[in-house]
Amino acid sequence: MPHLDAAYRFARWLTRSGQEAEDVVQEALLRAFRAFDTLRGTDVKGWLLAIVRNCHATALRQQQRRGFVPLPSQEEADFGATALAAPPDPEGYSIAEQERRRLTTVLAGLGAEHREVLVLREMEDLSYREIAAVTQLPIGTVMSRLARARAALRASWLKDTSGEPRAVR
């Protein structure tokens, strides 16, 4: 199934929860399946990611209508529970692994609009035009948002590093 991995990764960063991501992806692939004939052009991946994004937005609206509005801190804690299960032995993790976990925390803490452009650009390697298609934003907005997102990532990373000095041996 082409692009299922990309769809899942993107959904995971949007929802910050493994379980929610699975639900979103499942819904998105069904929608994509039913609408496949309407696909114009060749960018299947971008088209699918746009559907994932719409499904996520719909799910979010439904949650809000039901009055279920998770606090950001709670969401992060949920995400942490699945993505960053506390290692039984922190010393057992390599520095690379520690960095990866810290990046996950930092990314999860960014605003949703910053996180999505960063993930699409750096992890999925989409061009500005493709990101604009997925997020339904003008290219100029993609550029400036990406710049702000990178600055936010940097600030948050530095804060995280300095605030929590780590013993590196």
Binding site: M1, R34, E122, A147
Partner: protein, 264 residues
């Protein structure tokens, strides 16, 4: 206060600028420490975000979605779904028509490449190839493979990427700035392209191991000026939208240098 060029520096980093803008930004970086620091930050963030292997979808999700789509497909076709599991992980019928279209496109590309190789047997075909390569180089992120203003970086780079070792020099003090080098492929040869910048113009200097043919000394095609010359068995062609005098200015410098190299 952020430098006014920071967005274009980012776009350059992301490979989104056309050749002219990219060259402008390279020049800007030389004199803006703030933007150089920005590039370092961008690189660090990218390294960090690309260090981890990409996560895959959980197998259970894959299986579930695959089953759902099967059911959906079966319902759509209004007949019971096939029983065997092995070869039906992806059931979008249109996906296969897409795959067929892909193969068709590849065949077309091969046919075009074939046509290029053979049509290039006449000088006309070669001229078209050179113009196409020049125009292609002006598209975003295609200007250079190796970016450097130092000929000692650019020249050795060609050793692994082209069939010839062209004359490379930076005449920045005379208005022809070396931007970098690029490998191109036409006429069955790996050609070297050295990129210079003259004012707002880009000049591509192509070189390849030559076969004897009736090449013009100079000509104009699609509005681009082309100058041909030969040093030893290496054929050179400079292409640009500059005026003749500017183009000949670079060519005469390169010819002098090449002749001197050949004597030494």
């Amino acid at each position: 206060m952020q430098c006014a060029e920071s967005l274009r520096v980012q776009a350059r980093f992301d490979g989104e600028l056309d050749a002219l803008a990219a060259a402008e930004i390279e020049r800007h970086l030389e004199r803006c420490p703030e933007c150089r620091a920005l590039v370092e930050d961008l690189e660090r963030a990218r390294t960090l975000m690309r260090a981890a292997p990409l996560e895959a979808a959980p197998p259970a999700l894959r299986a579930r979605v695959s089953r759902l789509l099967d059911e959906e497909g079966a319902a759509e076709r209004g007949r019971p779904r096939a029983l065997e599991r092995g070869n039906r992980t992806w059931r979008w019928p249109s996906f296969w028509s897409g795959a067929v279209a892909g193969v068709g496109a590849a065949a077309c590309a091969a046919a075009v490449a074939w046509w290029f190789v053979f049509s290039a047997a006449s000088p006309d075909g070669l001229l078209d190839d050179l113009i196409a390569a020049h125009v292609r180089s002006l598209m975003p992120a295609h200007l250079t493979d190796v970016v450097s203003t130092d000929r000692h970086t650019v020249k050795p780079w060609f050793a692994g990427h082209a069939d010839v070792s062209p004359v490379v020099a930076d005449f920045a003090d005379q208005g022809y700035r070396l931007v970098g080098g690029r490998a191109d492929y036409f006429e069955g040869h790996r050609a070297a392209a050295v990129v210079y910048e003259h004012g707002p113009h880009i000049i591509n200097v192509f070189s390849w191991a030559g076969a004897q043919r009736g090449l013009p000394g100079r000509t104009t095609r699609n509005g681009y000026h082309m100058v041909f010359w030969r040093i030893g068995n290496v054929e050179y062609c400079a292409v640009s939208d500059t005026g003749w005098d500017e183009l000949e200015g670079l060519v005469s410098r390169l010819r002098d240098l090449g002749a001197r190299d050949a004597r030494d």
